[in-house]
Symmetry: C7
Subunit: 264 residues, 7 copies
């Protein structure tokens, strides 16, 4: 329809200074099932909706451990995500080998982001169609990063990627102060509550222990993934949330409505 | 007709974030003759309709042993499948050489899936037009995996690929609980029964010992292929199934209708 | 006229999952002069119509010995066939050098088929526009294989390639049982009779000792090519065949009409 | 709309002797948030508006230290900027390793500009979509350089890049003499005041300690970045500037209006 | 006019299974000046019309010695022919070096034909726009081969290439039996007579000792080129040929009309 | 508008035997600010208008020393010029290293011109969009060369490149004899006077010590650049030139009008 | 206008068997200023019109010495000619180094012609847009060769290339016998007289000692170039030629009209 001569070449700027292929790859990120990340002063949490490709398949995991202190949640083309995960695992190993210590999270993220940038510049390949939320802990405390197909990377307090992630982002923005000060379990509950928001617009869909997983990493607590029964307790805690959100987000989680969602 | 400017370049995203060539390659998978896989707690089974290119040719085998503990059933471009099988056989050998043990099935599948992903990203080649069902057993028990032209891979309880595989998938979904708890021979019969479903819509076509083959691998049982006379017994067991399916699938195989199909 | 945007790129799938260049290369195979192959329990036979490019040229041979136990008949672009023959001869030599034994026929065929597949996938070159019938004998007995531009390969009892090969295939299908049980000379006569069918629709054309050649390989009998006077005896045996075929093919070659053709 | 045949090929001149891709990449530079640089006889200063991609993310830093004597402010595609920064850091390190001294600023800038030029000439890649302001001090005193996607580089007294940078440039031109003779803190205030000009046209936007950062390097003073509270004092100093500029810029900063902005 | 989408890509099959570039290169062969080759049981002869590019240039030689036992006549793009001649000379040398014997003519021709085939398949280059007639003698006696831009090669008794070569071919076909049994000098006269036929349709053109050359190679007679005065005798022998050909070609050269041409 | 199919491919001739990309690159040369070169029997002089990209930037230098005996003035894409300058500096160094003497100017120019030619022929890259005036002295005396994007190079007595250089060229042509016989300072004044001509058509523009620079190299005098105050004296000498040129150029600089310009 | 789909690809044949790019490159040869070559039994001579790009430049030399026994005159893209000259000089050096003798002229020409052919075939680059006249002497006596962009090469008695060379060719054809038998100085005069013909159609243009140069090489006489005053004597000898040519060319130069031109 609206044919655009600049959008098929991965190494061409449009007259507006845009690289269309990178923007289209970002669409692939938006079509993955939702992932959520959040970070407080002591912990970083990842949560995702498992991808269900068929009743015959087990749900697809979208959170992966990279090292004992860092893990990643992915949204988009899973095969591309696997390549980037492999790249990051290798970086972790090489750093441990060379320096006998865990790789700082920011450095790890910068390396994988550079790897993405090279695709569309030096290597003239298609961009990786995947977004990453990297959660980890290093000497500077817990971190949460996002990387994009463009090779951009951002340090964040919280973020959601994938299908209907806007609802989750809105939730996180309203509860940002809670997130920053949350303790371990509260942070998990906030992440799951945000993830649940992505189900709001879908009829009959519900967040259950079978279709989601969470992962936590904290100071003195290695990266660990929780699934199924392990996640049921957290879901129970955010259960009584039948009413739509209407109140104003307050810094303290004592307000009644928020409490119904967050049960902190 | 509907010319689409994004679908001829294997390294280009469409504005919707899709890579058309990968989707077209998946069409090649759908045009292969049907293959079925199923896994219980103790065994994994593959079954396929042999491809008959001519009355002058023997039927084409579509199940291959990769190692004593793992094999593969393929659907799509057979020449591509041969390349991937060779790649996997080599991986098995190298793992045995390096570690003196059988390669874990999941790792083998991840390697071949990465190999597929590289085609359309780093190497800028056409995707492999073939889908694989990999069945094997390792220290964690039996496994069944599917890989796609995109480089995606899924762990499954059961799956069917190729022409008219939807009927087989429907059958497997309705008998999923039986599959999970099936013993060796019952699992074979379930796979064959699912495969038979792909013949339902084709007039005069029938599943016989001449046009199908099965393979089994189990804990303590190496991968083995059964053909012709060897498969006749299993076919006999699912023979009395003239009525169309109408009943509800129950967990136990004692219900009369299911029994007519499954004769467990 | 019917411009098809997918058919000029050798590494592009059409939305139907087809690779047009491979199909077009198959057209080149169909335009070669006819070749026929047949295999019984003890022998494998190749027969071809020699290509006559000019009255000034001797007829072109289209059957080549690869090793003492295996040979090939080709149809399509002869220059491409020469490249593949050279490749196979080299494989035979290398196998003899490494293992001090003749290469198994199936392995040889798989190697050359993989070589064809690489053209259109890894190497992004045009496919080889040639079809091969490979006849050989190894420890498992006689074999007949066909390879295609796609890199597919089939094991066969009998097959015909090239111009008007459909008539020969029809003949072979009707005499398949005879082929399977034929003794050496009978197998040659069946192959020549099938080859003669490709002349049926061409006015004034006739199969003579000057325009055809046959090759035989058997258990305990090395691959050998027969031409001119050597082939005259076989042609004589199938001479009295003025009537068109009308009868039904029977398992035994004693039926009168078949006898007129096959003179077994 | 106005299709231009010369603008998609990065290695093609238009009939007017222009290389369009370089000009389009310059558009990407203009879309970054504003950065400002200024240099006096003793110091060089960089200031930027931090990029805010989301309420959930901390603001993006756009000023980076390269070595103790030099740093860079970037506008445009941040992932590209990271590549160039990495390149420059490496140059600094190599120079220190080889010569045991800090790399002269001009030489560093020439190297990175050559690296940009190679993109569109020898390497036939897309240009880097980023502009750099490099501030540093070497034996010849303080320096300020700008590099462009074309590979051009300019030595400057002051410059502004990015969104609405024209207002900042106008401000700097009017206060050029002040800039040249400014002392350390005055130079910082001039840079921030120029940066504030880029907010003038945006309703409700304001330069605060949260959305900007400055960096200073001087003779005998290593490169250092100031953020948040550290920058508040400088902002306070340029606060009383409610009236639009209307007066003429004079060489001496004693004029009343200028004083209201610059408070030198 | 009749735009054909398949004919500009040298590695693309048309839907009819043709490679147009090879066919177009064959047109270049047809535009060269005529060359003729003929072989009897004891000798092989090449004859050509020298190419006259200008009155200022000596006529271009189109027959080249490759080794003492083999030579080549070329038609088409002479620069391409030179490359192929060089290739063949090198093959001759290498064979002598490795085996201390002359390279068999058929093997030499196969090598150069493979070299041509690689152009359009593995190397994706334009085909060589030249046709070769290779005449030589080895242990099996005299040989005459033709190679085409496609990489095809034919063994021949006689052949003509280049402009108006059809008349020469017709002549050769009618005198084929004479050619086969010709003695040395008679064979030369037959080749020259055929060459003269290409002049028949051109007004005022005539075959003289200045515009043609011949080469002979025989059992026990090394390859040798004859020009100018050396060729005059042979031309004299075929001089009295004013009448158009009307008689029937007979096996024996004693018939009057043929005699007028052949003077054997 | 006038789409020309030959002008986007840098390695394609048009039917008129032209390579458009080289011509378009020459347009880039014409858009640079003016440079002038002149040579007498004892000295060679370069003069340029410094490029002013902004009031905030110092003027861009466009004359560079390459070695003690040779320098270059450039017009066009400065980033490209930097690459060529670097290439030439390296040539100078290598020559000194290998031969322990200064590189002859002509050889240096030939090398850089060959480097330009390779761009559009062997390397298939865009041409360098820059023109060079190389002034130097070697054993044969002073030299002035011009190189073009095509890779052509000319030895000259005088030349002007860049914006409005035609006026300067006209001036130089009229004073060619004076140039040839000029002494050092007179030659500088002639070059500056020619440069001033490029300002004639621009309202309010004037040649001052701030916007131009000159360089001199002579027998026994190393290459040296003069700027700002150093150039003021020469400008003063050519100051009284308010009248338009109307007289005829004479060999001797004693004619009144010329004197007003040249004040020799 | 007359778009031709075959003429932009340097490696594509048109349906007529032509390679358009080579023909277009030949147009570039025709646009160079004229060069003339002539050879007698004892000497070979080159003559050219020096290219005048500007009044400010010395005339461009177009004749170059390659070795003591051989030189070249060029017409077309001078930058390309320089590359080929360099190639040939290197060939001369390598031959002297390897064989301690001068390279035979024909071999040298064949090498450079092969180099040209590779451009458009193996290397897929644009052809060299230059024609060469190579004059030299070796053990077989004097030689004159022409090479074309196609890679063709011809041995000649005389030839003219470049602008209006047709007039010179016509002159040379009429005086061919004189050329063949000319002594040294007479040969030079004939070449200059032919060169003068290219001025005939241009008003006010005249062949003077300033705009032409000649070079001679002979048996026992090394290659030497004559310019300016050195060439004046020869020009003087052909001066009295105001009348147009009308007479018939005779073998002996004693005829009056020819004498007026040739003054032999």
């Amino acid at each position: 329809m609206l044919r655009n001569q600049y959008d098929t070449d991965i190494t061409t700027f449009s007259p507006q200074g845009r690289i269309h292929q990178i923007e289209y790859a970002s669409e692939a990120v938006k079509q993955g099932s939702a992932v959520v990340g959040a970070r407080s002063g002591t912990h970083a949490v990842l949560a995702c909706v498992k991808r269900s490709v068929s009743d015959l398949a087990s749900h697809q995991r979208k959170i992966f451990e990279l090292d004992t202190h860092v893990g990643v949640a992915v949204s988009g083309i899973i095969a591309d995500a696997r390549v980037l995960s492999k790249f990051m695992r290798n970086e972790c190993l090489q750093h441990r080998f060379a320096y006998e210590s865990a790789v700082p999270v920011g450095r790890l993220v910068r390396h994988v982001a550079d790897y993405c940038q090279r695709c569309t510049q030096r290597a003239s390949k298609r961009p990786f169609g995947v977004g990453l939320l990297v959660a980890g802990v290093d000497e500077l405390g817990p971190h949460l990063f996002e990387t994009c197909p463009s090779g951009d990377e951002y340090e964040l307090w919280a973020m959601a990627l994938g299908a209907r992630s806007q609802s989750a982002k809105t939730y996180l923005e309203r509860h940002l102060e809670e997130v920053k000060q949350a303790k371990r379990d509260e942070l998990i509950r906030l992440a799951l509550a945000a993830l649940r928001e992505t189900f709001a617009a879908v009829r009959d869909a519900e967040l259950t222990e079978h279709n989601c997983m969470v992962a936590v990493v904290g100071i003195e607590e290695p990266f660990r993934v929780y699934e199924d029964a392990q996640v049921a307790g957290f879901l129970e805690a955010i259960r009584p949330a039948p009413e739509p959100e209407g109140g104003s987000a307050t810094g303290a989680p004592s307000a009644s409505e928020e409490r119904m969602e967050d049960t902190s």
